[in-house]
Symmetry: C2
Subunit: 354 residues, 2 copies
DNA sequence: CATTTTTTGATATACGTCTATCATTTTGAG
DNA sequence: CTCAAAATGATAGACGTATATCAAAAAATG
């Protein structure tokens, strides 16, 4: 028996197609007993609406926009590539995706783009949030127009968006702490390096890190790089000087160049045993560092999976479903040289398919 | 401008809808120059076929079957739940999925079910392979009828199926080796426990393990449990007796009960420092063990992701696409207490949606 | 040029649903 | 019982594509 159609349901319920349709689409004006009979028939036949046919009839397509920060490191580059890949994959399913470049670290720039989206007939928008009154206001304006707003990677206030898709930073920090604790079994000394502890994500990671670190491991005062590679290289050099027995380094943020420089010096000099190094985000340069053994473990937030998840979330919201509570939580992945996933390939253009 | 339709393409190419259709669907009998004009129009307008409308018109739906071993431990239970979840999620997209129970470890039983599938009008089938002549023959018969056959978790000969979706066992073993090496920095002694090294997956994991283990770490002779918990408990006890300084245990296979028993004895006695324990598959009991700190790290093969991947693969094959080379390779995930993903919830039944 | 062959156009029906309209039946109130 | 209100039925057009048929036009053949 083929999949039942609404016609079958109507027949089974002993009503006309029109009535079955009125029930299914809650158009009202149907007697209670008829409603029940239709619902019973739906239940009994296991009817599910063919959403593809429904969308076709409604002339409905899903328009989503991603606002991705421009040129802010390799991470967002991968993110952009992932969006493009998903856009292509879903194009044949009436899902249209556009990417808007947004100036990095600039809340007014972000707000401006958001404001320009208001009359673009979008059903959802996905942004890397920077909190500011103007941004919040723009988001509210969009949501008032029934545009779903998701935050990605970085969140705003939780009541001002529909969902947040992003890394569980506390778990990420704990994982780092666990690895360095394992690697410093009988006590040890570890150095945390952050971009800035004022950034919410870095602070959370650091908090988790301290939670998970073993009691007999000494955590040195955290170094804040403020995105200046020289600072990091210098600080790592000094620390190694002062603590030749350093067992671990946790680089909490991005911008790893300074760290790489200092580490390769250590590797060459061979005066010290290299500490175990844990850092974040498996982008190109980090991938290389892991491959050649300059660092040991990488905590990744799987940008491609985040994009896919964000799209699934927006589609679900558009279809009137509600999201499970922890839908947006991305569990940190831990990669060694040994279980690195293959690098994302920007596949060649495909011709029109059959 | 809305998404272009084939009508738009025909108009742009200056031909009729019928001709554009003939080109798109390779029906033949079209002059070379017309073909070129249509293709140019497709290119220029960025036309992509609306597959949902196409499937609707074709009356096409995708019928897939999953053959999952019955009652063979919690792992396949999770797998079955994942299939059910995906089945529900894709029901509205003309994808029908059935689950067939297959007797565990029984190649004839598997073959029988396979043979019964031959005239069921399936477009794809997914099984946990057990190699035997009869199974191979059944698979060939299916493929001869244009049914795509994927293997899951366990493979057959690579030329006898369309794709294999499964864990990269070598990488999994290497990852375990890496963790135990990290945890045994200045030398150490580690104990590998396998179900049976005759099983291809266990052998591969063990091979990877040895590859990644540090040179100054001693690997004790591997214990083979042959799925008897008592053996494992006994062997672990003896090993701890003989090597009070044991730094790590790698449990290569499933059936962890014996290990858990021995470990909880150690935990209580407090005579030894508990070795670092790495094992496989984050099923219920393992999850508990990880939570209470009985074990340290779990390598997971993400059954839910495997199911999703398998479905994507079958759908892609059905649509005439070719799969990327490493499509089926599942990268092992490493979980600590700290980054455990939430347990899969068997969500409550949802009423008919809007 | 006449004839056959190839190519093209026009058009109809179908897929499962949405939306709308109009006619008809049933129900409830007075 | 009468009349309005509520409920139901019947049906048509649309969405974008697939598939088929038949006639008309263009090209190739002799």
């Amino acid at each position: 028996m083929a999949k039942p159609t609404l016609m079958d349901v109507a027949a089974a319920a002993g009503v006309s197609y029109a009535t079955a349709d009125r029930v299914l689409n809650r158009r009202g004006g149907v007697a209670e007993k008829s409603v029940l009979r239709v619902l019973a028939a739906i239940e009994q036949l296991g009817y599910t609406r063919d959403v593809t046919a429904a969308n076709l009839a409604r002339g409905r397509s899903y328009n989503y926009a991603f606002l991705i920060p421009a040129q802010a490191g390799a991470f967002f580059g991968e993110m952009r590539a992932a969006v493009k890949a998903e856009a292509k994959a879903r194009a044949s399913q009436r899902i249209n995706i556009t990417i808007e470049e947004v100036p990095a670290f600039n809340s007014d720039g972000l707000a401006e783009v958001l404001e320009s989206c208001i009359d673009r007939d979008l059903s959802g928008i996905c942004l890397v949030a920077i909190d500011s009154p103007r941004v919040r206001k723009a988001i509210q304006a969009l949501r008032a127009k029934d545009v779903f707003v998701l935050t990605l990677v970085a969140d705003t206030q939780s009541n001002s968006r529909d969902a947040y898709i992003g890394l569980d930073n506390l778990a990420a920090g704990r994982t780092a702490g666990r690895v360095l604790s394992l690697a410093s079994r009988d006590g040890g000394v570890v150095l945390p390096i952050a971009g800035s502890l004022d950034a919410a994500d870095h602070a959370l990671r650091f908090k988790g890190f301290k939670q998970a670190i073993a009691f007999d491991v000494t955590v040195l005062p955290v170094i804040e790089s403020f995105d200046r590679p020289e600072n990091v290289a210098e600080a790592v050099r000094n620390t190694l000087e002062a603590h030749p027995n350093l067992t671990g380094i946790y680089s909490i943020g991005s911008g790893q160049n300074g760290l790489f420089i200092a580490l390769s010096e250590v590797q060459k000099s061979a005066t010290y045993q290299r500490p175990v190094v844990v850092l974040h985000d498996l982008v190109g340069s980090v991938r290389t560092a892991l491959t050649i053994g300059l660092v040991d473990a990488v905590i990744d937030q799987k940008p491609d999976q985040q994009i896919a998840r964000a799209l699934d979330a927006m589609k679900a919201l558009s279809d009137g479903e509600t999201l499970p509570a922890d839908f947006g939580t991305i569990v940190p992945s831990l990669y060694f040289q040994d279980n690195m996933p293959p690098a994302p390939a920007d596949g060649p253009e495909q011709g029109p398919s059959l």
